[in-house]
Structure formats: C-alpha cells, structure tokens
Assembly symmetry: C3
C-alpha cells in the first residue's frame, strides 16, 4: 500500500510543505530514514537528522523552524509524535488479521467458543475451556482444561497455558510464555530428599496485560498468582507462585519475583532485577536494573538501586568512593604512618 | 467434590470441634481463607489469622489453645502441617489423570512403548525412543531419536528433548524446558570467525528430578551433562554442557551454571546466581541469590554471598561499611586535615 | 560404527603406537576416558591423565614424550587437537540427516520451497515464506508470513519465527528460541495506563549465526533488530528491539541487551551481563559475567567488570579493599581516637 503526502496530511488535518504526491509504503526512525518511508521529528535532540534523513516524508510540529533546507517533504501538525503514533495504530489495524478455526487444531467438544475466533494449526483446546469473542490463538498453543480467556486476547505461537488459568480481555501473550506451571515447592523429608508440595492454586491474569516471549508465571500453591489490570512484562521474566503484581506495573526483561511477594501498582522495574519471597513493594516504586531486593520497600515512589538496594543517588555516591577504594586505603595507611610518627 | 469435617477428621484420625457437617471443596492459606475451603494452622506466627479467617474448616495441632473464639470448625490432629499435606496429596491423586495415546501424535514404529501411557496431541516420538510404564507426555512435546524415559515421568506441554537424552523415573519436566540442546562451543579460526565444535555428548537425568518451565539443559561436548537423583531446578535456569549437579541439590529461578562445573549434593542456590565454568562446589554449599562464583568452593556447607562471594555474614558486614562510604571518606579527609595541621 | 586405530591413523596421516586393531565407537575427554572411546591430549596440563585414562585410543602430538607407560594405544599426528576436531566433524557429518517434508506439517501453498529440505511433523510454514535449499526445520516450528530463510539453516524443534523475519544461510537456531516477538514499547496515557506502541519493524539475522535454546530476539519498533554475520548467542539471552550486534560477537547465557543498543564486532560478553538501552559498545570489548553496563564503551578492546563497570584489574583491586572494609573502618576510627588525643 502506498500513501501520498496529500492523503496523510488530509487524514491528520495537517499541511504539506514540499511535494504533495510524494509517497511512502513503510515507516522509519528519522536517524535511519530510508526512501519511500514516513518518519517524524518530535524531540529537538533529533533535529540534526531532519537535514540529512532519506525519509521521503517527515511529520513535524506546526511550530518547527528549520535552520537549513530539509530534503524531505514535511507535514506540519499540532503534535508530531501523537500524529505519527495514530498512523502506526491505523497501519497496524489495516494489516490482514488471522481468522477462522483451523481443521488441524484439536478442540474439545466441551470447549465453549465465542464468535470471530482465530485458532491456528496444531493448537490444543482442552476440556471445558471458555474462549470469549475475538480471541486469537496462533498455532501450537496449548490451552489446558477449564482455562478461561477474555475478549480479544491474543496468544502467539507456542504459548502454554496450564489447566485452570484465567486470562482477561485484550491481553497479549508472546510466543513460548508458560502460564500456570507448578510453583517451586518442596518439603525436605527425613532422608534428606525433597518431597513435592502439590501446587493446587491457579493463575489469574486481568485485562490489558502483556506478557513477553518465554516469560513464566507459576500457579499458586493454594489460591492464585495474580497479574492485575494493565501489567506489562517483558521477555524471560519469572513470576513465582502466589505473587501479586499491582495494576499498571511494568517489568523489563529477565527480572525474577520470588514466591508470595506482593508488588504495588504503577511500579517500574529494570531488567535482571531479583526480589526475594514474602515481601511487599509499595506503589510507584522504581527499581534500577540488576538490583536485588531482600526486604519490603514501604515508601511509595521510592527509587532504589543495588543489592541490597539503597536510595538511587546514595548508591551512586557510595559507588564513587568504591571506585576509589585503593586510594582511600593508601590514604589511611599514610595517615597511620604519620600519626604513628607523631605519637612516638 | 465436597468433604465434611466429620469425613476429614475420620480420615486423619482427628477430632472435630464445631460443626461436623461443615463442608469444603477447596483449600486455602489461613491468611487468605475463603468460605468453603479447608486451611491449617501450624506456625504460631500465623495464629492471629485463625481468629478472623473465613476458611470453613481449619486443621490445628492437638495442643492448640485458642485465646479467642475461632469462627471456623476445627479439626485437631497430632501434626497439622503433615495432616494437611497428606490431604493435598490425596486430593491431587484423586484428580482425573490424562491417559491414552492420541491419534494426533506422531509416533515412530521403532519406538518401544510401555503400559498405561499418556501421549497428547501433536507430540512427536521419534525413532528408537523407549518410554517406560506410566509415562505421561502432554501435547506438543518433541522426543528425539534414541531418547529413554523412565517409569511414571511427566513431560508437560511443549517440552523438547533432543536425541539421545536419558531421563529417569518419576521426574517432572515443565512446559517449554529444552533438554539436550548443543553446548555453546566454538573455536576461533584464522579469519577471526568461530567454527562450531560438534556437540556429541548427551544429557543424563536421574530419578525424581524436577525441571522448571523454560529451563535449558545443554548436552555435553563429549560424555554427559548429568543431573543426579532428586535434583530440583526452578524456571529459566541454564545448565551448560558437561555440568554435573549432585543429588538433591536445589536451584532457584534464573540461575546459570557454566560448562564443566561440578556441583555437590544437597546444595541450595538462590535465584539469579551465576557460576563460571570448570570449577567445583562442595556438598551442602548455600549460595545467596544473585551471587557470582568465579572459583571453586571447597568447604562443605559454606554459606556465601557476593560476586565474587564472601562468607555470608562477612559480606553483610562489608556492605554495611559500603553504605557508609561517603562518610568514611569524609572522616578520612578530615583526619588528614587535622594531621596535616599537627605536622606543620 | 567401529573404527580401528589403523583406520584412524591412515585417515589422519598419523602413526600408531600400540595395537593397530584397537577399536572405538565413541569419543571421550581424556579425564573421563571410557573403554571403547577415542580421546586426545593437546594441553600439557592434562598430561597426567594419559597415564591413567581408560580411553582405548588417544591422539597425541608427534613430539609427545611420555614419562610413564600409557595404557592406551596412541596415534601420533602433527596437531592432536586439530586432528581430533576434524574427526568430530567427520563423525557428525556421517550421522544420518533428517530429510523430507512431513505430511503432518502445515505448509501454505504460497510458500516457496527450495530443494533437499527437511520439514518435520506439526511444523507450520505460513504464507509467502521462502525457504532456500537444504533448510532443515524440525517438528513443531512456527514460521510466520513472509519469513525468508537462507541455505542450509537448521531450526530445532519448537522455534517460533514471527512474520517478516529474515534469517541468513548456515544458521543454527535451537529449540524454543523466539525470533521477532514484539519489542517492549508502551507509552503512558493520561489515565496512567500504558498504551502499546505498535511494533512494525522486523528481525534480520545474517549468515552463520547460532542462537541458543529459549533465547528471544525482539522485532524492531521500526526498521530492524540485526544480528550480523557469525554472531553466536547462548541460551536464554534477551535481545531487545532495534539492537544491532556486530560480526562475530559472542554472548554467554542469560545476558540481556536493552533496546536500540549497538554492539561492535568481535565482542565477548560473559553470562548474565545486562546492557542498558541506546548505548554503543566498541569493537572487541570484553565484559565480565554479571556486569551491568549503563553507558557507552568507546575504547576498542576494553576489558571491563562491575555494575557500573570498571577496568577489569581496577575492579579487582577495589574489591580487595571492599572485602576488607570493616578493618579499614576500624583503622580509621582508631586513627581518629589517636588524633583526637593529640589535638586535645
């Protein structure tokens, strides 16, 4: 599909500066602009790229004043970033959507299927599963017994959902994610062996949750492991049994949360963060990448770093001294020598 | 299924205190007790919950003396935790078990199949595979050529087992785990490229091993990567080529063990621990979460933390000073000023 | 298959010392030598094992002078390691290769298929996919629309490749890896919810790349996430959207690279390393395991450790003082006491 600058400007209610017939069929970042693509300039830090980009059309803010000639056709709008994002959403929605139920899927007769579903090849829908309208399940997905999935949720190829899990509406779960595997619970017995503690709980995922590729969410021992509305998890994250993650909390890749920990809402965790079990994290807490959290964080909105964590700026100050420790030690030894001289 | 307090007490050889007809159909933690559930109180720290729980029935120790009224029906037994755990196992065993060999699986004619198997839809059983009695293989599992699996072992959906791997009896392997992928071995050549070193060894997993979701166990370059009897691995763990993990060693999620490292028995590793290759860890060593281990640990039963690790309590003491480093530096600078005054 | 010492020596152009009819059917490391296996001795550190190994045949360097009797038959060659490696490659190539297109695969009529393909059971080849000659795709793999795969590339069981991804020739992708999942991009809106930023870019993997089990490579927001020629990634690695990894760069397991970071060529990263987004790493940089990289590294060939990283040897020196911090603090306090005495 090709779109002209004139058509895009009309859609956005903007003004063309340059060739209204210039046309694009893809998008690009302004610093990587290629011919035939549409880009945008919002952040002034990137202004230098607009004078050299090869993007055919660039959306800019109404008040943008170029200091040199721009090689691209410009479209001026009120808010360049929002206008561009709205085009991306439009483009995405215009892509052909997978639909229909594959004859190569295995679907239990007891499953309750909504309307306008997509179920791909070699997917398994087990007994008493309930799929709401518009659910899209790609190939090679496994849905265990008694699983419920809400309206419009998308499961990418190879997702595995163990029995009894509940997934809300408008969620996206990426390839290879595992929902509802057993919690890691073993009790040592007299012979120093471990005996498995049966994991009889489940996983509840509320609406608008996104889960990254190969992330794992374990079922509760009893009760439920819960991801509240709007939670966004990146790839390769581990959420252990009986954890609760609050609304709109976001975690970057490879973070791990141990069993029974409760995380507030609107938190942001960097990548490779680790949290011990049975603690609580207040609302709005930000944890820097690779931090290790051995205790509850009670103050809302704290920003922490380290393992165990300190206040972010305090950690930075300590680390400055750490980098200088050999000098500090030498300084102390020199002082000792001098003081020793004075006291003799 | 519903069970009455009378029936549960009879099974456990315990005494009912309250309504013998009170009935439950699920279990709960005492602090999350819901109506219609059975709970237990063993740890005195949780006693406060028994006066407010909504659990319909609570199992308690014979000698439990309430200081207030308990809203639930109680069942008194010798050991409340063990009694509850035995009920969980009973409940789990009573759940309907998957059985039968799916017509939608692909099973080689050369495979040797035991009795009372479950093989799910879209699972592949390759040439010369041997499955002992009672093996349960969920849908979409891949079993490569010449793989052997022992009695009663369960492979959850989507597990991938490369050719030649040997898995013992009564193991549980969770969804998405990969057993027997190539070790990471490359030799640089003259042109600064890497040439793959063929990975011709295998993986041996002994009896009673549990492996978490999306964990990966690489095959040996030559010989075998070995998980000894009773090893328990959580999710997203990496065990590299030629590693050996000793009996009943337990590792939490996202830990990684590099090639050819040998780990003793009865060790416990926290989450996100990393071990370098070609080292040995003695029996009974405990490693705190996120530690990094660059050298062998020779003392049995050591408890270590840090990267590189120190004795656990020593690390804690060092970290206390680390948190105070800016003050320590100021103190030293002040001393220097004073001593400088004295020596002038 | 059995091979005699005479046959192996003839193939390698070497000389037998011992029984020319001694025969082997497997390989082993010299320290783990078993009867009926072939081993080698190249590194003098391992010489002690040649006097006790149970390997039936051992390949040694021409100039090797035993100081005791060797129990094995020896084959003397110019370079023992290279000779052994060439046998491993020969052995690997001699293994029966999977071939043919399974009738249990689901292959779109619009897919363009090369010659001498292997496509396993329950694999999905979607619309407009292009597979070059000699591609081997194991069972339960998903190949999305418009994906291109180059000559001789191998995809192990359960690999998931999202639409539009491009994979070069002679690549190896291990089980459970996910190529082309959505980048982790969300924009907060007025109600403090996150709105998904459409991820419209793709993944480009050049020739001779190897990707480990359960590793995830996210698609770009716009443009492409790129793995250059010869990149080798271990298991459970996360490569985020719009990252570029330079030629022949190697990463150990569980490392994570955040969005839009550019990594030079010939770099080596240890396991569990984390890199923040939007930074650049120069060519030939080595990063120690578990390091955290919050800033660009501009000097080619740097060797760094820590989080944030320091020069490797500097970090080691700082850590020596860190381990001694309680003593240093006591030393400072003692000095303060003395100086206080002097100044009174």
């Amino acid at each position: 599909m090709n779109f002209t600058a004139a058509a895009i400007a009309e859609f956005l209610g903007g003004d063309v500066e340059g060739d209204p017939k210039a046309s694009i069929n893809d998008v690009s970042k302004i610093e990587e602009g290629r011919e035939g693509t549409l880009s945008f300039l919002a952040n002034p830090k990137y202004e230098k790229y607009i004078y050299q980009t090869r993007a055919t059309i660039v959306i800019v803010n109404q008040d943008f004043k170029p200091v040199k000639e721009c090689p691209s056709t410009l479209i001026r709008v009120k808010n360049a970033y929002e206008a561009f994002a709205s085009l991306l959403h439009l483009y995405e929605q215009s892509k052909p959507r997978k639909s229909g139920v594959s004859k190569l899927a295995s679907i239990s007769e007891s499953a309750v299927l909504g309307k306008e579903l997509y179920i791909g090849d070699f997917t398994v829908i087990s007994d008493h599963v309930s799929l709401a309208d518009g659910v899209q399940i790609f190939p090679q997905v496994y849905i265990g017994d008694h699983v419920k999935i809400g309206e419009g949720t998308i499961l990418h190829p190879g997702v595995k959902v163990y029995e009894g899990s509940e997934i809300g509406a408008h969620c996206v779960i990426h390839a290879g994610a595992v929902i509802g595997g057993d919690g890691f619970g073993f009790a040592p017995n007299q012979e120093n062996n471990y005996k498995k503690v049966p994991q009889l709980g489940k996983v509840i995922i509320e609406d608008h949750v996104e889960i990254g590729a190969n992330t794992t969410i374990d079922r509760a021992t009893m009760g439920a492991t819960i991801l509240r509305k709007g939670v966004k998890l990146d790839n390769l994250i581990m959420i252990a049994h009986n954890v609760e993650v609050g609304e709109n909390t976001v975690m970057a890749a490879q973070t791990g949360v141990s069993g029974s920990t409760r995380i507030g809402k609107n938190c942001m965790f960097g990548g490779q963060v680790g949290l011990i079990g049975h603690i609580s994290i207040a609302d709005g807490v930000k944890i820097a990448a690779q931090s290790g959290i051995p205790k509850s964080i009670k103050e809302e909105g704290s920003i922490v770093q380290g393992s165990p964590p300190l206040d972010f700026t305090h950690y930075q100050r300590c680390y400055v001294v750490f980098k200088n420790l050999p000098n500090l030690r030498n300084q102390v030894n020199e002082l000792e020598r001098k003081v020793s001289g004075l006291t003799q």
